[in-house]
């Protein structure tokens, strides 16, 4: 229990977070590249938006990791945001959600 609390504290205070810890560095690098380039094709390389909404940490203020993870996995029906579940695991989507909230690529 103490361990879980400690981990939680770390994840709240600073990166690396829980999902980030679970993934090897090479995988995290690959995902960061994916976010910038492939999410970036609609949301902009700097996440400032395009056809898709801006997804900078400021623009995402108020969103939770869980909420974003579910948007990434299942998309937003009626918009151009596709479901990424066929291509990303839940842990990868969670890593991306945390990355978007914490880091400005």
């Amino acid at each position: 229990m103490a361990r879980a609390v400690a981990l939680l504290a770390i994840s709240v205070l600073a990166a690396p977070s829980l999902a980030a810890e679970a993934l090897p560095q090479a995988e995290q690098d690959r995902l960061a590249h994916f976010v910038q380039q492939d999410c970036g094709s609609c949301h902009g390389l700097k996440m400032t938006g395009g056809l898709g909404s801006p997804i900078t940490p400021e623009a995402l203020e108020g969103h939770t990791v869980d909420g974003l993870t579910s948007i990434i996995l299942d998309g937003i029906p009626g918009t151009a945001m596709p479901p990424w579940r066929p291509l990303l695991t839940e842990i990868e989507a969670q890593w991306i959600a945390e990355y978007l909230l914490e880091i400005s690529p």
């Binding site: 590249h33 910038q36 380039q37 492939d38 970036g40 094709s41 609609c42 902009g44 390389l45 700097k46 400032t48 938006g49 395009g50 056809l51 998309g75 151009a80 596709p82 479901p83 990424w84 066929p86 291509l87």
Partner: protein, 383 residues
């Protein structure tokens, strides 16, 4: 007299400098967008080489370029609203304005005097003096604005993602004339104009079909084409929007990417009816006809973007498949189509192919390259 001596002084000062500059005619040059680093390569198509890397273009996500009629200047449209004028002769930036918050592309007028930029934020089109980059006209649309092209007669044509309208703006008089066409369809994502300047084709994301306008008509009306091409099936998730460019006409037919399907659609260019479809490796992004129209080269959306297929227009058969590498983003033919240059983003490379043998004949290094634009576009309607 004072002016004369000033000019002589300028000449004396300028001469030693000009003597050192190597002359490069611009007719076989091009630019390559390096999207992550905000830089642009000036490339020599005949030498298959890089002449210069120019920096300072800002955010080049989804960047594109048009050229001045003399093919000296490239106008680069960046995501951050930056409109940058690049001098291919001096290999320097000749002007730059941040004209909006978020942009998606641009066009140059048929006379070369005006450059128009299509904006997401604030939605609309702004028109600039091509020489000075001073604002000439502003057309707010209350919508993300896409598919901006030039049309003969000093016109620009563009469409609205949110409202499904197409506007034709006639800039040939001092007071611009705007014609608004409604009912183009749900969520137009991109558009093209044919090389003869007659037909404007709009791709729809929110609707199963496409639409078109006859720009030779005095009062163009939206006409549906390829209605229900998805045959009622649930579309696949779209991980990258297709692009429409003025290279879609292949002989007597258009090659058009299907949205949310692994298919290329063939449309009779005269009757505007479907001729058939080709099963493809993935969801097409660009379907680019070789300038002679005999073959169409197609690249694909993530996660199938390591592959390019060459499809024969007459038969619709896949003739050849290439795997240039991870994330093929764009393809550009030389003016007469003997070569095609392919940007391979994640390999940091441009690959050059012979279009007869499909052999790779060269490559040049580039930092996360996306769009490739040869100056031959200067002389084409809609490019």
């Amino acid at each position: 007299m004072r002016l004369m001596s000033f000019l002589s002084l300028l000449l004396v000062l300028a001469l030693p400098a000009t003597a050192e500059v190597e002359v490069h005619a611009t007719g076989d040059l091009g630019v390559v967008i390096e999207r992550t680093t905000g830089s642009v390569l000036i490339v020599d198509q005949s030498d298959m080489d890089v002449l210069a890397r120019v920096e300072g273009f800002g955010d080049l996500s989804h960047a594109s370029a048009v050229f001045s009629p003399d093919a000296r200047f490239a106008y680069i449209f960046g995501r951050d609203g930056g409109l940058t004028k690049l001098d291919l002769v001096t290999q320097t930036i000749a002007g730059r304005v941040i004209q909006a918050g978020n942009s998606i592309g641009g066009a140059i007028s048929d006379d070369g005097h005006l450059v128009a930029v299509s904006n997401y934020e604030p939605g609309g089109v702004r028109v600039f003096d091509a020489q000075t980059l001073d604002l000439v006209a502003n057309f707010p649309t209350q919508s993300k604005t896409i598919g901006l092209v030039d049309a003969p007669g000093g016109r620009f044509v563009f469409s609205m993602w949110d409202t499904g309208e197409t506007w034709i703006v006639d800039m040939s008089d001092a007071t611009p004339d705007v014609t608004k066409i409604t009912g183009m369809g749900a969520n137009p994502y991109d558009a093209l104009i044919t090389g003869d300047g007659r037909r404007y084709i709009v791709g729809l994301f929110g609707e199963d079909g496409m639409s078109t306008l006859d720009l030779w008509s005095d009062a163009p009306v939206a006409q549906r084409i390829l209605p229900g091409y998805g045959r009622g099936e649930e579309p696949l998730p779209v991980y990258k929007m297709p692009h429409l460019e003025g290279w879609a006409l292949a002989g007597d037919r258009f090659a058009l990417p299907a949205v949310g399907r692994h298919e290329l659609l063939w449309l009779d260019a005269q009757r505007l009816t479907e001729l058939g479809r080709t099963k493809t490796h993935g969801q097409p992004v660009f379907a680019v006809a070789r300038p002679d129209g005999r073959h169409v080269w197609v690249n694909y959306a993530h996660p199938h973007n390591d592959t390019v297929q060459v499809i024969e227009a007459a038969s619709g058969e896949v003739l050849h498949s290439l795997k240039p590498g991870p994330a093929v983003l764009h393809m550009e033919f030389t003016a007469r189509g003997h070569q095609v240059w392919v940007s391979v983003r994640d390999a940091n490379r441009i690959d050059i192919y012979d279009t007869q043998t499909f052999e790779k004949i060269g490559e040049i290094p580039a930092e996360t390259p996306s769009g490739i634009f040869f100056t031959a576009r200067a002389h084409r309607i809609g490019l």
